[in-house]
Symmetry: C2
Subunit: 300 residues, 2 copies
């Protein structure tokens, strides 16, 4: 089944301890839809400026990603994010953020998007996420991401959103911030009690935790020796997860668990190079092969 | 097969955000041997002072733990450790350390210990660990633990030890400190290249990683909502792991992996109460039941 994602599309400058790269294809929406495209047709909603390279749009289209919802704003520049990673790649500083076109992002879903059953609201301001919700009245699975900024500044709107969605994906530290609880199992379930039927905690290099009403489980990250650029790992995780759910057309507990595994492995490829460069080199069978390896790794 | 452990036995004072408890049975050797006792007969080598409660010795003996190697030093007091946990229980401060009898610890293995094939050197100064090694010439599997203090102050002796052992168990931050490498997969393998055939990284609430020549895998921690006191989790992990290996009498890759799982689950019980109080309430079948649950959790 097709999957709609609303999220940012950006040009990134990323500096790791080994290399600096400029004007990379980035943004939560880009990583998400590319990751999800291994599983299902994706419909992207986002906004860019006049400087957006047409080749990026063509690249997405070549992956069966519908860009009818990608607005190009005249007279604007594309959202630009700059980040610098520490020697320990789990830590990074945001060096610069130029929202540019994102400042005027007013997501209007094309008619062809509105009947989609699978919807992902990538990390945007909660009022904007809620506005999208109202346009997707037929969605049967709505999952959102969020971030510390909105927990801090848009808590009321975020709490309202949580009552309207089925699943929330967020970082472990964000769950701790939202709930004031340091134990991650308890924090995840406290977030779940705020509304969503399930919560997925992203723990970076330590994997991800699933908290549903009747089950809690943890999936470790795939052990990657060669982390080149962790940017987009979380969005790729969400893309792989949601992509698999949409492909299967259901969100039964067993499907959700396999989706968590696919999300984990999609992210494990993303971090092996800058931007989506590593993803561009792989096919669905590479994900399936790594899934089998991962399954063996976790069986004893 | 019997398993020999050389490690500390202590009386602990532990303060968590909710409670303060004094004179608890503690020490790496205590946690290790109690955890291992679910699987195999254990022979403890340690030292205590005159203040050591005889009931602790009897408790260990009731678990088929041989205390012939537990020396009681006249005129000495037992090693005393005090620690305080932060609101986030993954962080703690050592408030006080009174080595007392441990200062004069000169491990001499009883004759009946020396032919044991499974040996664990808990966290002691590397010169002392090496001294024990020389008394156990028939050991077929020697695994050691270490800590930041010895990496800092006894690096040469530690490097010599690494060439004499089969496996090393250490915290993730210690592996980073020893190798200067922040990527945990690379750090684990760099430690392995210093001598041992395998390295186990303990990642606290995030589980453990195994690094052997031909395989790398991660096992997540069992998701525990109710962490009362994390003290001894790492030693219980090692005890469960080594206990299972000694029970099976081999250290084939598949046995090692199941041993990692048992270690993980033994530790998950330890943190549910102070000292070994939770372990005292469980039997082998409780571990086996949780193992089956854990196996289901990791299968998809």
């Amino acid at each position: 089944m097709p999957l709609v994602v609303v999220g940012s599309v950006a040009l990134d400058t990323v500096e790791t301890p080994n290399e600096k790269r400029e004007n990379l294809l980035g943004g939560s929406g880009s990583y998400f839809c590319y990751a999800a495209s291994y599983f299902t047709p994706v419909k992207l909603v986002s906004v860019v400026g006049e400087d957006w390279p047409q080749e990026h749009t063509e690249l997405l289209q070549s992956r069966n990603i519908d860009t009818a919802g990608l607005q190009v704003l005249p007279g604007e520049k594309t959202f630009h994010w700059s980040g610098r990673y520490h020697q320990n790649m789990n830590q990074r500083d945001t060096v610069d953020v130029q929202l540019n076109a994102m400042n005027r992002f007013d997501p209007v879903l094309p008619e062809s998007y509105r009947r989609c059953q699978f919807l992902f609201l990538a990390n945007d301001p909660p009022p904007l996420q809620r506005k999208v919700l109202r346009q997707c009245t037929g969605a049967s699975l709505i999952v959102a991401d969020t971030m510390d900024l909105w927990i801090d500044r848009e808590r009321e709107e975020l709490l309202a959103l949580l009552k309207e969605i089925d699943g929330l994906v967020l970082n472990d530290s964000e769950a701790q911030m939202l709930t004031g609880e340091s134990n991650l199992v308890r924090a995840a379930h406290l977030v779940r009690e705020l509304g969503p039927r399930f919560v997925v905690l992203k723990k970076g290099e330590h994997g991800a935790m699933f908290a549903g009403k009747h089950e809690t489980y943890v999936m470790p990250a795939y052990p990657t020796a060669n982390v080149v650029d962790p940017t987009g790992a979380g969005d790729s995780f969400a893309g792989g997860m949601m992509g698999y759910l949409a492909e299967q057309g259901n969100f039964e507990p067993e499907t959700l668990k396999t989706a968590m595994a696919y999300g984990t492995l999609t992210a494990s490829f993303t971090v092996e190079d800058f931007s989506i460069d590593r993803l561009k080199q792989i096919e669905r069978e590479d994900l399936d092969e790594r899934l089998e390896e991962y399954r063996r790794m976790l069986s004893f």
